[in-house]
């Protein structure tokens, strides 16, 4: 942090919040609120005189309330810039000045009660999101009685209690009697790997954090007896398995089983832990003086604001989505935005450093090149047809379309930001958008060709390029057998499948139409397939109103790895096709060609 703070080419905006980000790759405009510190950070020498005289004592949020701070304080010892700030809600010296003691003792005269929030605006070419993570709430697992028993603490609190910045200067004391504990239990996976309570994912860092904590304890207090309750220890990184073995070698007991209950002895305040030891298959009771809950991690709540501003997508676990989890783990789906660290997934320091270095490198490459390759498949507005309704701008997952609804001027597509999903084209009611290489004319021609002969035997399938088409491909490569009468029209995204394509297929005699795309979490165009679902739901209602069976229009989410699902779906739609008679097809054609009904 010190290096960052001192670097001549890095402008560090500490104690600030992003208010707004607009624009696209190479042309982002950022508005930042620089919160008032009420201390001139350049003049402040961090002499500590102001803190000494401040009469206000408040719980220190950075230390989770385990220690105190003054109204004028430095958030933490290593803060950059090394300057104090005043929390005005706590301060007595503001309007009317009742205290003013800090200003009196400040030699460089850097206290300024009139300071206001400042807005800083600037342009950047690329953005790196590194919003970090937070810890999950341990109270969701009430069997550990975190809020009831003082001697049950979290791993974060353990870190503070044993840190040099704490009042005990790193000496671990039991909260109830302020004596060093004789034994400690660590419980793993609190809030992680649980479908019902907490989060289903593995938090990645807790196992090694506990191994590190037990080694720390054994090094400084060899007399403390340490036990770890776990499902399985995930020591996945270089040197981690050795660390785990070292922890066992110094006498840390590893008990395979997650405790189901903790009860406190009211006299001794010791904690009785009940656990099913899955190695022995027996229910055991253990007594400890302290219990540490190894809590999992969650994305920082503030990430959501950045996510919305930069049109990023979020995985079901709440972490930001990368373009591809294996092949493109640094890029976000929005051009010119890169991800680093735990905003993307829980990870240890080493992995965060690797990803951050990668993100910096990707950003630098882009900035030094000064040019970006625009997708070949982008949308184009036909100005004469555009009514400036703005639905395309609402539908665009990348915010690449701008439209002035009041001025009624035709919409404008920023080609550098357009990724070519085609959702805008499908949503446009005036046919004012043309998708390069996937034009309406091209797709209609494919439908026409599909139903030239024996339409009653064919199944019309729209499959997205990235997932469903890949699933079909894998089914073929794996030699899986499925009915051969499906005819696939590939679109880049299922969001491109316009209502009129489906109507046209039914008009041409399609017994069944299947629209298939990526699973919601896998959408390659942030959230374009949500529009597909919305559209298809609307079409089911329209079909019913017209007297056409809605089930003849099927919707499926199939990933590139789901060849088995593809095969299963193909058999199901073929079974459905067999129920559609020639008479029903003719009736549908009649309904749709009837101008009043169709």
């Amino acid at each position: 942090m010190m290096d960052v703070g001192r670097h001549p080419k890095i402008n560090l905006l500490a104690y600030s919040e992003i208010e707004e980000i607009t624009g696209y790759i190479g042309n982002f405009h950022v508005k930042v609120r620089k919160k008032a510190r009420y201390v001139d950070e350049k003049a402040c020498t961090a002499c500590d005189e102001c803190v000494k005289v401040c009469p206000v004592v408040m719980p220190d949020e950075h230390q989770l309330g385990l220690s105190t701070r003054k109204a004028i304080y430095m958030p933490f010892a290593q803060a950059v810039p090394a300057s104090y700030l005043i929390n005005m809600e706590d301060c007595l010296g503001n309007n009317p000045i009742a205290c003013d003691k800090c200003a009196e003792v400040c030699d460089p005269k850097c206290i300024d009660f009139d300071q206001q929030d400042e807005f800083v605006e600037f342009d950047v070419g690329v953005a790196i999101v590194a919003t970090g993570m937070y810890v999950c709430d341990p109270t969701i697992l009430d069997e550990y009685r975190y809020t009831k028993y003082e001697n049950v603490i979290t791993s974060w609190e353990f870190e503070i209690l044993t840190g040099p910045g704490y009042v005990t200067k790193g000496e671990l004391l039991r909260p109830t009697d302020r004596k060093p504990p004789k034994n400690i239990a660590f419980i793993q996976c609190v809030g992680s790997r649980s479908e019902k309570r907490g989060n289903p994912y593995c938090s990645n860092i807790c196992c090694m954090n506990t191994v590190k904590d037990t080694l720390f304890l054994k090094e400084h207090h060899p007399e403390i007896d340490c036990s770890v309750f776990y499902m399985d220890i995930r020591s996945f990184g270089k040197g981690y398995e050795e660390l785990y073995k070292r922890s066992k070698a110094v006498g840390v007991k590893y008990i395979r089983g997650i405790p189901g209950d903790i009860v406190e002895d009211p006299k001794t305040k010791n904690l009785i832990v009940t656990v099913e030891n899955t190695t022995t298959g027996k229910i055991e009771k253990h007594e400890f003086e302290m219990v540490v809950l190894s809590i999992g991690v969650i994305p920082r709540p503030e990430t959501e604001q950045i996510q919305r501003a930069l049109t990023l997508s979020k995985a079901p676990c709440g972490f930001l989505m990368e373009t591809h989890y294996q092949l493109d783990p640094i890029d976000s789906p929005t051009g010119g935005v890169f991800l680093a660290g735990c905003c993307e997934s829980p990870k240890d320091i080493k992995s965060s450093v690797i990803q951050a270095s990668g993100a910096a490198s990707r950003a630098e490459t882009l900035l030094t090149t000064g040019k970006v390759k625009v997708e070949a498949i982008t949308s184009t507005i036909i100005p004469d047809m555009c009514k400036a309704c703005g639905i395309c701008a609402d539908a665009c997952p990348y915010g690449s379309i701008t439209v002035d609804r009041k001025a009624k001027t035709p919409a404008v597509v920023v080609e550098a930001a357009c990724k070519g999903c085609g959702t805008c084209g499908a949503e446009c009611r005036f046919d004012a958008i043309e998708m390069k290489h996937f034009t309406d004319r091209q797709i209609m021609a494919m439908i026409d060709a599909m139903f030239e002969e024996k339409p009653e035997e064919k199944i019309c399938i729209f499959a997205c390029n990235w997932c469903s088409y890949g699933g079909a491909d894998l089914a073929g490569l794996s030699r899986m057998q499925y009915p051969p009468n499906g005819r696939i029209i590939r679109t880049m995204c299922s969001g491109r499948v316009d209502e009129k394509f489906i109507w046209h297929a039914f008009k041409k005699g399609a017994p069944v139409v299947l629209v298939s795309g990526c699973h919601f979490a896998d959408c390659h165009y942030i959230n374009a397939n949500r529009w597909t679902q919305k559209r298809i739901e609307g079409m089911w209602n329209k079909l019913e109103r017209k007297g056409i069976r809605p089930k003849r229009l099927q919707l499926e989410w199939i990933s590139a790895a789901e060849a088995v699902k593809w095969t299963k779906v193909m058999h199901a739609v073929e079974d459905l096709r067999k129920t559609v008679t020639k008479e029903e097809i003719e009736e549908t054609k009649k309904i749709l060609s009837d101008k009043k009904k169709g």
Binding site: F520, K534, P550, E556
Partner: protein, 47 residues
């Protein structure tokens, strides 16, 4: 706003209840056959 609706699987015909918010689309799956063709049935208008 989320409302309680009946969903119908357009593959197997299975009906089940759940919450539906048009503004917050969710990936749905039939609990019986696993199909994603899940239609939120429109509420019948009271006469």
């Amino acid at each position: 706003m989320a409302e309680e609706v009946t969903f119908k699987c357009l593959r197997c015909g299975y009906e089940f209840k759940g919450t539906y918010d048009r503004k917050v689309p969710e990936e749905r799956e039939c609990p019986k056959c696993g199909s994603n063709s899940i239609r939120p049935l429109p509420k019948k208008k009271e006469k």
